[in-house]
Amino acid sequence: MSVPTVTPAPVAGPSPEPGSNPTGGAASRALRRALRWLRGPVPVSIVAALLIGAVFMLLAGVNPLEGYVAMLTGSFGTGMGWSSTLQRAIPIVGLGIAIAIAFRAGVLNLGTEGQAVLGSLAGGLVAVYAPGPAPLILLLAIATAIIVGALWGLLAAVLQNALGVPILLSTLLLNYPARYFSSWLIRYRLDEPTSDLIASEQLDPGRQVGMLVGRTSGLADTLRDSFGSTHPITAILTGVNWSLVIVLLLVVGTAFMNRRTKYGFESGLAGQNLEFTRYGGVKPGPLVMRTMAFSGGIAGLIGVLIVIGAPNTRLVEGHIVQTNYAWTALLVTLLALYRPAGVAIAGLFFAAIIVGSEAMGRELGLSPQISAIIQALVIILLAFRVTLPKFRRRAQTGGSREPGDSPPSGPSKQPDETASSAGPAPSETAAQTSEGEAGR
């Protein structure tokens, strides 16, 4: 701590920190903060994961540089790529928010998949088959999906509160009946034979969540004329549906809820220290119920948005399960440490990796599963530094974020050994000492 300008705070996320240097300008402070964040666990884990990903590409006989160029062009290089990435980010961020709400309250909801599947099934049934005026049916479908998703989530909450079945296990097990039931219903009861897919009838176009700008509308023509038909702006506005706005509202709403509402305060507290929350007069049972209802409801909403969001028009067997949205969303949530804005950024990042990997796979004859490898590695490398607040038994000086700014692995990412040695947060030392004590 010989350098006076170094802020002695744990450096982890892009969260603002109090600058301890009164003489430095705001710009240089921001720059320093950005630099320090770049040295932090998140970017370091990402770079290291990409490096290990490169090793896998080498194993497959592909030049990693070529691979990553293909990945980048696939996800952000073209207008098509932009719209696919955003379209893919919608369910990932949405389910990520659902998971983040639960995990933040210390409720380990691993069942967003089942909640989304049943929500999409119920909402999709309403959207495809219910008679009535289109806008009303659309709203009704969304409401149904939210309610069904919330009920499936509540079931796990009731099982924990009344019978003591851990939510982690019940939500996990409840995924399977949801998955198989939906698959059975679509295959044996709804399947419409004229389509190649195992899927229900098409829904009425008016009941669809349309693209931001309809492809046939005048505005779309104007966009094409002024930007060109493959320009990112045109591609995004005509290739991404309104679910994007719904999910953005969800992100903002959740951030607001976490910071400004009684529920947000209580759930955040419960995630950190349930005992303390109980002393504070909050009953954990109802809190778990509310959390699971929120989480499941959002999952259900996202599920139905996948089914009725353009360009999709049918209930397709295994649509939500096979794409593995729920697990990707879980990784995103862990990367973002349950913060809504972080979930949005990390979700976009992971969606880009997925879309880019698919492009790379097509181009270079690789399995698109390289995206799963990179994503999982980011989390593993990060976890070598991170502990969930809920499970941490040790000193909690670092708040809910991981302490320290030294990289977990990979020597190449230590830009300045001496500078970082001046910076290690006191919390890291504290955590290590107490860890050492506990281990002895």
Partner: protein, 304 residues
């Protein structure tokens, strides 16, 4: 066909087939639970074991090599959880969730990279694990199938009493349990908790890897993408149901194997596959509900 025909001698054989991979993984999970590390990465380790076993057996045309490589691969893979949670104070749940996804990614990626196929890899060059039929005993009605298993099958069944003896009648078991229940007290007695925890996780990796080998080289002789298909999760639930007791783990795994086998047979009576596939999970949940009441509070404080 009479519905009672389901309960034939064949049923016992197929119960054993579904039981053994889960039992191997669950015994591994039990060891982790005993040293205080919640291992939900079994699903991924099984998958890695299955892939490594098939690959090694394919290249060497030798099932023993396949089994050994599967075990080593499982251990190596479990090092992520072991090293991360024991020495980097990473969260076991976070690590294990990522491991499960990493396993799907790595196996599917290598399937294309090495064998140039997608989905299923099947080849006559893959040497399956033979069944060792014990003469005379295997002919006894009803319990005969118990003596017509693969070597891994016998190992799994024997591990139940062995792990009981080790855990409850040997100093090693006392230390393992001590590390999980009172790490500080164990440390005072000169036991290094971290080393025990690491080795327990590695052992679970080896066992789950063997479970994968049994799945891909014993039950069938091929590798399917995602072929662990929830078995690792069932093993996790089995450990919790049994409160990490060997006999309980056997019973819980048996329950799953039984439901799985009966469900499969019910398909012959016109029940759609989707509904019978869901049965083991629903049954496990039901039993979990019935049993939970007893061990609620302590577990809840730790896990949920």
């Amino acid at each position: 066909m009479n519905i009672l025909d389901i309960f034939s001698e064949d049923l016992i054989a197929s119960v054993l087939r579904s039981l053994i991979p889960i039992l191997l993984a669950a015994i591994g999970g039990m060891l982790c639970e005993r040293v205080g590390i919640f291992n939900i990465g079994l699903e991924g380790i099984i998958l890695i074991g299955a892939f490594a076993g098939v690959a090694a057996s394919f290249f060497t045309n030798n099932w023993v090599a396949g089994v050994i490589v599967a075990m080593l691969a499982g251990m190596l893979f479990s090092l992520i959880l072991g090293y991360g949670s024991v020495y980097r104070s990473g969260d076991p749940i976070v690590l294990a969730v990522a491991m499960n996804i990493l396993a799907i990614g790595v196996t599917s990626f290598l399937l294309v990279a090495i064998f140039n196929v997608q989905g299923v890899f099947k080849d006559p060059g893959i040497d399956g694990i033979p069944t060792w039929r014990i003469p005379v005993l295997a002919d006894i009605p009803w319990i005969g199938p118990l003596f017509n298993l693969t070597p891994l099958g016998y190992l799994a069944l024997l591990l139940v009493p062995i792990s009981w003896v080790v855990l409850f009648r040997m100093p090693l078991g006392l230390r393992l349990r001590g590390v999980g229940e009172r790490p500080l007290a164990a440390a005072t007695m000169g036991v290094n908790p971290q080393r025990y925890q690491l080795w327990a996780v590695l052992a679970s990796g080896a066992l789950a890897g063997l479970g994968g080998a049994q799945l891909a080289l014993g039950n069938v002789v091929q590798f399917n993408e995602g072929m662990s298909a929830g078995r690792g999760w069932i093993a996790v639930v089995a450990v919790m149901l049994a409160r990490a007791h060997p006999v309980g783990v056997l019973l819980a795994a048996l329950l799953f194997g039984f439901t799985d086998a009966v469900g499969f047979r019910l398909q012959a009576f016109g029940l759609p596959q989707q509904l019978t596939d869901a049965m083991p999970y629903v049954m496990t949940l039901v039993v979990l509900v019935i049993v939970s009441r007893r061990f609620v509070k302590s577990r809840q404080a730790q896990v949920a």
